[in-house]
């Protein structure tokens, strides 16, 4: 019952001592959480999606709490890649944190530009490519909802960044055929998949009688979407069993993390849960270890996708 479990995991050729990561956009650049626990104690810090230029993001209100969830419409506010690489990455590396840099763009070219800038930075573990962004060259259609555009983004990043740094393509669940999108980006060179980004939602303020969020629609996150995340991970793992998945969506306990892992996730990002509980990542990591041990797993990797096993006990 209490044998130590090897909690280490890999995504592509990147190794992490723990499978519990922050989720992009839910840990800012790391400094804010460092008061609550040492950043090196988690698997990795996945940084907020960064674009080429500084951005103000969307007007407020930017959030609405919903039953067991929340909507956000931040609109990728951020300092731009240059300031980010100059200030935030060195600080994180100094903390001995593993760093996964999340990038976002409005054109296929912008993603490649970001990849080029990353190429020269040493010490980062992987790049997460957030393709749940509107494509300004195609009527604002979100890249991740367009099989062709998502493939081309990843292809561009792969070609620019070279063969070393693992590429994690982050997909949106708001599509008819998720495995098809997943297959496309893997063919284009993604080493791993991040599932899921937020689900598109809206809240109407019944006093103003208009959409509550400044950005009208927002992304739904938190426990409410966990069943969607589990389904997405299970579906994609069934279709592409050899492709590692960084799972996320509503994880707030070790039990939730285990569910995603059994469905097929090799690592688990924790987003919204940190808003309600600054030490959520550490608690989830510890609970997960206990749960794995109680189930007789010697290593985390034995549990990855275990829910897919053939009939039997």
């Amino acid at each position: 019952m209490t044998m130590p479990v090897d909690m280490s995991t890999t995504l592509g050729n990147a190794w992490f001592p723990s499978p519990i990561f922050t989720a992009s956009g839910c840990a800012s650049s790391g400094k804010e959480l460092a008061q609550f626990f040492p950043l090196k104690d988690i698997g990795a810090v996945v940084t907020k999606s960064v674009m080429t230029k500084p951005r103000h993001g969307r007007p407020t209100p930017r959030m609405a709490e919903t039953p067991s969830g929340m909507l956000n419409s931040i609109g990728l506010q951020g300092p731009g890649i240059d300031a980010f690489l100059a200030n935030d990455v060195p600080w994180l590396l100094e903390q001995k944190a593993r760093v996964i840099v999340s990038i976002a763009g409005e054109t296929i070219e912008e993603y490649s530009t970001l990849a080029r800038k990353l190429r020269s930075i040493s010490g980062i573990s992987a790049v997460e490519v957030n393709i749940s962004c509107p494509n300004v060259e195609n009527r604002g259609l979100v890249f991740a909802c367009d099989p062709d555009a998502s493939r081309r983004v990843i292809d561009g990043v792969r070609k620019t960044i070279g063969g070393e740094l693992p590429i994690i393509a982050k997909l949106s669940p708001d599509v008819t055929d998720l495995p098809a999108i997943a297959r496309g980006v893997v063919d284009a060179g993604a080493d791993a998949l991040a599932l899921i980004n937020t689900v598109l939602g809206m809240v109407i303020n019944i006093d103003s009688m208009r959409p509550h969020l400044g950005g009208k629609t927002g992304g739904l996150s938190g426990p409410a979407i966990k069943p969607v995340a589990v389904r997405a991970i299970y579906q994609v793992h069934a279709a592409l069993p050899q492709v590692p998945i960084l799972g996320m969506g509503g994880v707030s306990t070790g039990r939730d993390a285990l569910e995603l892992i059994l469905a097929g996730a090799s690592g688990v990002s924790v987003g919204t849960a940190s808003f309600g509980n600054p030490t959520a990542l550490i608690q989830i990591r510890d609970e997960l270890q206990t749960l794995l041990a109680a189930r007789g797993f010697a290593t985390l990797s034995q549990a990855v996708g275990y829910a897919h096993r053939e009939e039997g006990p």
Partner: protein, 281 residues
Amino acid sequence: MATINKSAVQQIVTVLSNKRVGAYHQILLNVGDIVKSCRPGNFVAISVGGDASKMILRRAFAISRTSDSSQYGGTMELIVAPHGAGSRWLCAQSEGSELDIVAPLGTAFGIPTEPINALLIGGGYGSAPLFGLADLLKSRGCKVDMLLGASVGSKIYAPMEGKRSVNSLKIYTEDGSMGETGRVTQSLLEIIENRNIDVIYSCGPMGMLQAITELVSATEVIHQCAVEESMACGIGICMTCVLPVTKADGTTSMLRSCIDGPVMDGSSVRWDLVGKVPDSL
């Protein structure tokens, strides 16, 4: 290690008492050593709804007062309006209940090194942090006047003990049910002039803070206001609580009111752009 949230801790604390005061609840918490790092203007973020709650986000409340001398060790007082489901849950917690809090958070009111003339302006429960501030200013030799406003008398929070620290207290209600009929801003420029006010400290609805900023813009008065934006995390990681703020170099940024606030320089806030975004960078 971290420079942000630098004295914040997450802790389970006990409710020592919960009293109705007008439209509000005065809630006293046993928080131990946390009080040592609390400054007037800081806030606390509290989990609401219990273990099986559908409310996943913390609620923010100004720290009204702290004390380290009572029989209980460190105590923290909150003034809570039962507004929606979360604050109503909090107001229903009785003596002995446990709460999960993160505190202290955010910026504090700047305390002058010289004995100045301060005017404290509170709207509704916005007066909560002003009494602790008044004590501190008084102890630094400042002259402290106070204006409180609300829609109705029951929404004026002005405890007896609090009044001892202020030189004068003037109350305004919109319906005239307590004090003068009207708003705190209606004679503001006169009061500033008559009393030689150097600094205004304010806390209350955003409309009030904006109105004060506009009124004092033509004066020399410094205006420190505690803003209130909808917050998902309270600790700087979500970017939902931003306000457009003009920086020293004249550019406008969307700053987090939980980290760069809640206390901000009123004149730096681009009130005209709240709910909008500045021109693109």
